[in-house]
Symmetry: C2
Subunit: 327 residues, 2 copies
DNA sequence: GTGAAAGCGCTAACAC
DNA sequence: GTGTTAGCGCTTTCAC
């Protein structure tokens, strides 16, 4: 690697002069400047960014902690985050917690030690202890999707409202039996399930308003239960899923059992991952405007990094129901 | 942030002693060691990794350049790469080129300047000039999927062989008209389409061996062409796609037109992204064992970083045909 | 307009 | 066993 010291030696000038040329600072003659720039171009000089950061305290790096990229939704979010960050000159350091609470803490510790200028996480930890932990990190941090506490900035769609809208939408389509399919209860209590809970509350609330009886499905192996619950009863029935992943699963189970969607049973997802238009029938879902979500998240983080006062603790972005033909 | 200097001041010892305690080097009494460890634990001391790297020359960071995460296949690869890297103590710096050749060069420049210890890229650039460019970076580099030149290590499945296997498989199933659906020609020439070309050659080769006439489809808006080509002709017909993305598109088009899959037309994908089991009918495809691919890629890079001699320039990992019910 | 020197936080060689 | 020091590559202040 070629350093500014090399340049200074070769050009027969001091380090200060090299810096003036390279970083466009005043106090240098046109002639020496050109010479230095020429030499550094020829030698392919590139500043050692870590060394620069060490000196300036600015890293131009954001640390990201997700649990995994299995769910394409997170991959889409990550994709948008990389792009937003890049527009502002930042780069991303990516870590995955694999749904392990302890691992998430390790990831955060590591990122802070790098160091990074800010953190974006989709947290699985929760509670007062984790809040204290994040405060001790002493790095601007924004949470996505799962809220941790009132003191940690949070960006998401309004999951509760969105799921309530889904219920309204289904009711408007004439459904009277709306079965809610959400993740197994195993995770509850252990993991941060804020988004999951919000969506569930939205469902409960919507059902209450519609005067309908909630029916919840959250087995690990839901096949028999789904088939039992969706047996034709004369009432128009739909399975409303807390995530597209479950909607895909439901669709497979129903198809295998020979049930027609949406004629016999309606199915609706949530998150609107890219593939839904290609299922049969194309799945209706709730779209999150991921670009906006990522941009908002990044902007909040930027405000925090710049020390702006009164950064909102909660920022909710839009959602909309995507009508396809599964309900 | 709390530094080793802080610790040394608080404990009333020198920096050298703090370092001996913190990094388990010999030449320190049990007593002072314990004291230093206790204090640093209490203060939540974390070494400044960038400063350490500046001194040691080892960064424990791998730079990654992908074009995007839209195709879930790349998200899955990235997921596996993060996990492999983590097992060996490495972290990933992620950049996206968005299919822009110039941007890919920028990403590489940036990553090298950070600096990183190694690079994993899914290249869109190609040719001698790019080969020279990567050599000048002077950082161990492994390419995934798209090969650049004989001098740059390359890890992938054997795309040509795999696509040839697909043809054999379809022929074995009685298909006599096998239409190949691959990306629009627009990219050819501009972008590195090594993987795409290999797959295409595998198709041509397989068809030749089977004594069948190749039919290729690569329009940007393939709808009318697909419907025309798959009109029942008495011959058993399948659409073999160069990527699952196209298979999903084909499936949608056929469904919309009322064609039955696989009764009227067979469809087969390539890459086996997670969702295929959930389409209707579930899509047959070629599975890449992504974990193995990622691990292999990382191992090759590790060998390069450790300066091992005779690191293979080409490493091909396994593939297998996943039989579902679309053909 | 240019040079010299200090220092970011860390490690490691050397002195005592 | 412990302290001192130099230096990784960079920026920045101060002196000339």
């Amino acid at each position: 690697m070629i350093t500014s010291k090399d340049i200074s030696r070769i050009c027969g000038v001091s380090l200060g002069t090299v810096d003036r040329a390279l970083n466009g600072r005043p106090g240098i003659s046109q002639k020496t400047k050109e010479k230095i720039l020429k030499v550094s171009r020829e030698l392919g000089y590139r500043p050692h960014l870590a060394a620069r950061s060490l000196k300036t305290g600015k890293n131009w790096t954001i640390g990201v902690v997700l649990f995994d990229l299995d769910n394409h939704y997170f991959a889409q979010v990550l994709n948008s985050l990389v792009l937003c960050a890049h527009e502002e000159g930042y780069f991303l350091h990516l870590t995955l917690s694999e749904h392990k609470a302890e691992r998430e803490l390790e990831c955060l510790h590591h990122l802070v030690s790098l160091p990074v200028d800010g953190l974006i996480i989709f947290p699985i930890n929760k509670g007062a202890e984790f809040t204290r932990f994040t405060r001790l990190l002493n790095v601007p941090l924004v949470t996505l999707g799962n809220r941790v506490s009132a003191s940690i900035p949070f960006v998401s769609i309004d999951d509760k409202l969105a799921m309530g809208n889904c219920v309204d939408y289904l009711v408007g389509k004439g459904y009277r039996r709306i079965i809610y399919f959400s993740p197994p209860l195993v995770y509850r209590g252990k993991e941060n399930t804020y988004a999951v809970s919000e969506r569930y509350m939205g469902y409960r609330h919507g059902m209450k308003l519609a005067g309908l009886e909630p029916v919840v499905l959250n087995e690990k192996h839901p096949k028999s239960k789904i088939l039992e619950l969706t047996k034709t009863t004369g009432e128009k029935t739909a399975v409303l899923c807390s995530s597209d992943i479950y909607a895909l699963e439901t669709l497979s189970i129903l198809r295998e059992a020979g049930a027609r969607v949406p004629e016999d049973v309606g199915v609706m997802g949530f998150d609107d991952i890219d593939f839904l238009a290609h299922t049969s029938p194309p799945l209706s879902s709730v779209s999150q405007n991921i670009d906006l979500l990522a941009r908002t998240c990044f902007n909040v983080l930027k405000d925090l990094m710049e020390g702006k006062p009164d950064v909102p603790q909660v920022t909710l972005t839009d959602h909309r129901i995507v009508q396809r033909s599964s309900v």
